[in-house]
């Protein structure tokens, strides 16, 4: 077991974790933050995307023990009360159906908008589709997800 101290959704957390514990398991089982979902076992689907130190990572391929001192944000901690513009946009544009991929989509969406803004690049629909390479949705056909990210980008 390794002791790890980190911040999750703004709150300090200290736990003993087994060396093989994935961040996704740590969040879901140890912290009971079940908004981070596991949809595959090959790091392909992106349902588990969270932010570590402000960047999107797949929680299913990150070891919890490697996150000493890290700042982790999950879907539950994305907005400080109310809804984040990305969350609002997914609702407004019907960017979700079953909701299972949605937390990962939203976290990836926030990440891409933040990066493009920081780099001064325009986030076109084509760029959004390319950036969503690591997130699979089986329900929406992506049409409304792309619209949602595009709209949120104009409001973030």
């Amino acid at each position: 077991m390794t002791k790890v101290s980190l911040t999750v959704n703004g709150k300090p957390v200290a736990r003993d974790v087994a060396g093989g514990t994935l961040l996704s398991e740590f969040l879901r089982e140890d912290l009971r933050l079940t908004g981070t979902h596991i949809g595959c076992d090959t790091s392909q689907c992106g349902a588990c995307v969270v932010h570590v130190n402000g960047k999107a990572v797949k929680a299913c391929t990150t070891l919890a023990a490697s996150l000493e001192g890290a700042d982790v944000t999950t879907i539950e901690g994305l907005a400080n009360g109310g809804l984040h513009p990305m969350q609002e946009a997914f609702k407004e544009h019907h960017g979700l159906q079953c909701g299972f991929c949605t937390p990962g989509m939203i976290m990836s969406g926030v990440d891409m908008v933040t990066r493009y803004k920081a780099e001064g690049r325009e986030l076109t629909q084509e760029a959004i589709r390319h950036e969503l390479e690591g997130n699979i949705c089986r329900c929406t056909g992506y049409h409304n997800i792309v619209k949602a990210v595009e709209d949120a980008a104009s409001k973030m």
């Binding site: 009971r32 596991i38 595959c40 539950e76």
Partner: protein, 786 residues
């Protein structure tokens, strides 16, 4: 009204999903939770010689290791197929036994032979690897056509030659005569590729046995929790219905894969009793690929004859359907009553015959996947029509229009009675939206850039809302296909709707509330939708086959009719008026043409205080209804796909996809469009990306997202979705259903477009760059030779 029928109401269920507060089965964790891991066969066909559990039982944290002998010893029944299909010689289908845990023989890679129950999921999985099963390997047959060959390995002794049934529909002699008189016959061999449904939430079960109450609770990823309870009780003898509660909480997509009651749910329930622990199992994606029922997998040959005028004179189809290693719950109905009955398409075909042979193979069981039989029928008919048009030198739209059915009701030779539709309207709308007239110029422009541009049509029809119970019973269904609903008006006037439909992405909490808001003129916030729990909802057949609108909502309407009748009686009594003069408007119950009115909440309160009700009236304001449809519904439409192919690489881009659908009445266009988008995406996935591949040894080659190509955002275009609707005469809201249309209509449109671009009709799904490139090269070589 902004929240009534036809309004684009934003979804009420979204808040929990966008904030990570959805509650899916794997999110459920009971006190002192134990975990299950299955020991699965690594080979496709073998005798099980022995199971040595000793090493696993000694491992840390292992509670028990259970096998099939114990399971059957406890009287747990074999897995059933709920639809009896009779062969054309009158014999019943040849169904082999399927135990939740195999005892004598394994028949596909993934077949479960034992289960480990341990303190953590990790320990359970480790221990499962330590269970030593000795297999005596047997010859394997993984492909449907090979399964029927002489000398093929025999999979079930109950099914000689691996043949489950040899079934037919229509009139073979008439079809032959029609083909004989044709001036042109189009012939094709068409394969419908095998798919894995892949809802993003893997299947999961949390089973808890309460010894003190002798009662079971099962949380599960189900599209139909009541059906699960019925089958688990009546056929698998896990627990009697009144001692079993099944809860399907938030479910992350279904697409058919979550209709069935799988070995894992049965085993978890039984194991919870055996170990007296709550037992949890969640599939990982690799496990999902070898346990979730697959879809499609047909091989067909077809002949369609035309007269000099382009009218269809005869149509004959011969299909082999792969049902995998065991017959899943509705597997038998998919390639028969859900497939061959739609082979008339949108066309007036008088002479039609189809023969279907269903076979066992050493592969995962195959059952309904979004569309279920209807995509296979549509793909066949629409590839034939497009190819025939090219062979006849006619425009594809013109050939179709020449054969359109225009009078309703229309009885087809394959037992369907189409009730409504305006196929010309959908075709015209799609052609205009797709700017078909501008296509030649776009093709020319693409050619200048060295690209091949193609246009493909698909005029689909499907049958939804299956329908009526007595009729499907006559065809062999083991269940009734009605739906139930309960409408509870509370004393304060708020309304709860309990429905037997189940929402796993369809947005019922919004659309179902819309029809109630409109009917009783109440704020939508005052209406809640309850579903997915057998302890709350009286009964339900669940959600599949695009039935929640046409059947589920019709049940709600029927219950609302009863509530309204009682409301009228109460109001008439209290306002001293005739019932006929009572109207519900502006949130009040009024005497028409007067200022006499009661608030809706006052009616509710009056019903429950019962101080002043009409004589002999029971207190309370709650009604339930069971709605049994009078016919199938027939959504239809035209899809037009435009592609651009890079001839050097075979890479294909969909540049435009246009849909015109007839879904009858639409409650929430936003949600309906979303269903079409998702359906088209799955259809494009089938057409261009997805395929389950087995090797000769029955090993699954496409067992993860590294190998099975799921459609991603960059693979798809924006969709241009339109509606030209006719009202369905068969149900009170006039609805036809929208859940499967996209997946049914789109594959032939895509392939017709690509084959148009490359000039070769011989192209199989999925149209990967390699397949497209090869087909283009073949066409080019042929052209050069000529």
């Amino acid at each position: 009204m902004t929240t009534g029928i036809g309004a684009r109401v934003k979804r009420r269920e979204d808040k929990r999903f966008i904030t990570g507060k959805g509650k899916y089965t794997d999110d459920v964790r009971t006190e002192n939770q134990a975990y299950a891991a299955f020991v699965r066969s690594p080979v496709a066909h073998a005798n099980v010689k022995s199971i040595d559990k000793s090493a696993a039982l000694e491992m840390d944290g292992v509670i028990d290791v259970l096998d099939g002998h114990q399971l059957t010893g406890d009287g747990i029944g074999n897995i059933i197929c709920g639809w009896a299909v009779t062969s054309k010689d009158g014999s019943p289908m040849n169904m082999g036994a399927w135990s939740a845990l195999a005892t004598q023989k394994v028949r596909y890679v993934g077949d479960a032979v034992a289960v480990v129950i341990a303190e953590t999921q990790q320990l359970a999985r480790l221990a499962a690897e330590a269970v030593d099963v000795e297999y005596e390997e047997l010859p394997v047959v993984a492909f449907a056509d090979k399964a029927l060959k002489d000398g093929a390995p025999q999979i079930h002794e109950e099914a000689p030659g691996n043949l489950i049934y040899d079934w037919e529909i229509g009139d073979a002699a008439k079809a032959d005569a029609g083909l004989a008189e044709a001036v042109h016959v189009t012939e094709m061999e068409i394969t419908n590729n095998r798919l894995s449904p892949n809802p993003m939430e893997p299947r999961s079960a949390v089973a808890t046995y309460d010894e003190a109450e002798d009662h079971y609770t099962l949380y599960t990823t189900s599209q139909n929790p009541h059906v699960a309870r019925l089958v688990l009780s009546a056929f698998y003898n896990v627990a009697p219905e009144h001692k079993l509660r099944v809860i399907a909480p938030d479910v992350g997509g279904g697409f058919g894969a979550k209709i069935y009651i799988y070995p894992e749910e049965i085993t978890c329930l039984w194991a919870s009793m055996k170990t007296n622990r709550s037992v949890k199992w969640t599939a990982d994606r690799s496990e999902a690929f070898v346990t979730d029922a697959h879809g499609r997998d047909h091989i067909s040959t077809a002949k369609m004859g035309f007269d000099a005028d382009g009218r269809i004179t005869g149509f004959k189809v011969d299909t082999i359907a792969n049902l995998g290693a065991y017959m899943s719950l509705f597997s038998s109905s998919v390639p028969t009553y859900l497939y061959a009955t739609l082979l008339s398409g949108q066309y007036d075909i008088q002479n039609l015959h189809a023969n279907v042979r269903a076979v066992y193979t050493n592969t995962v069981p195959v059952d309904a996947y979004r569309g279920a039989g209807r995509p296979e029928a549509c793909y066949l008919v629409e590839r034939m029509m497009e190819t025939a048009a090219r062979e006849l030198g006619m425009k594809p739209a013109e050939l179709r229009a020449k054969n359109f059915i225009r009078e309703f009701p229309h009885e087809t030779p394959v037992i369907m009675t189409y009730d409504s539709g305006d196929f010309d309207a959908n075709l015209a709308q799609a052609e205009e939206a797709a700017d078909v007239n501008g296509f030649p110029a776009r093709r020319e422009e693409a050619a200048k850039r060295g690209k091949l541009r193609g246009l493909g049509y698909s005029c689909y029809i499907e049958a939804c809302g299956i329908a009526p119970s007595a009729a499907v019973g006559g065809l062999g269904a083991g269940v009734g296909l009605w739906e139930s609903a309960e409408v509870r008006v509370n004393p304060v006037g708020t309304i709860e709707i309990l429905t037997g439909s189940h929402s796993h992405g369809q947005g019922h909490e919004t659309t179902f509330a819309q029809i109630v808001a409109e009917r009783f003129d109440q704020p939508i916030e005052n209406i809640s939708i309850v579903h997915g729990d057998t302890d709350k909802v009286q009964f339900g057949m669940g959600t599949y086959g695009s039935r929640s609108g046409a059947v589920g909502m019709s049940a709600i309407v029927k219950a609302m009719d009863k509530v309204e009748a009682k409301v009228r009686k109460i109001a008439a009594h209290q306002l001293e008026a005739s019932e006929d003069d009572i109207v519900i408007e502006g949130g009040e119950v009024k005497v028409a043409g007067t200022d006499k009115a009661l608030g809706w909440h006052e009616i509710g309160l009056a019903a429950y205080t019962a101080h002043n009700l009409p004589p002999d009236m029971e207190p309370g304001l709650k009604e339930s209804a069971f709605y049994d449809p009078s016919n199938f519904t027939f959504p239809a439409g035209t899809y037009i796909c435009e592609v651009e192919v890079d001839p050097d690489t075979g890479t294909t881009e969909i540049v435009q996809f246009t849909a015109s659908d007839d879904f009858g009445t639409i409650i929430n266009p936003m949600i309906v469009e979303g269903q079409v988008h998702g359906g088209i995406a799955q259809g494009v996935g089938q057409a261009m990306l997805e395929q389950v591949i087995y090797d000769e040894d029955g090993q699954l080659i496409t067992g993860s997202y590294m190998d099975y190509t799921m459609p991603r955002a960059a693979d798809l275009p924006n969709f241009s979705v339109h509606h030209a609707s006719t009202v369905c005469p068969g149900n009170p809201l006039g609805m036809k259903g929208c859940g499967e249309a996209g997946a049914i209509g789109s594959p032939p449109a895509v392939i017709n477009a690509i084959t148009d671009a490359i000039g070769n009709n011989d192209l199989a799904m999925p149209a990967t760059p390699q397949n497209v490139w090869r087909a283009y090269q073949a066409a080019s070589a042929k052209q050069a030779a000529e």
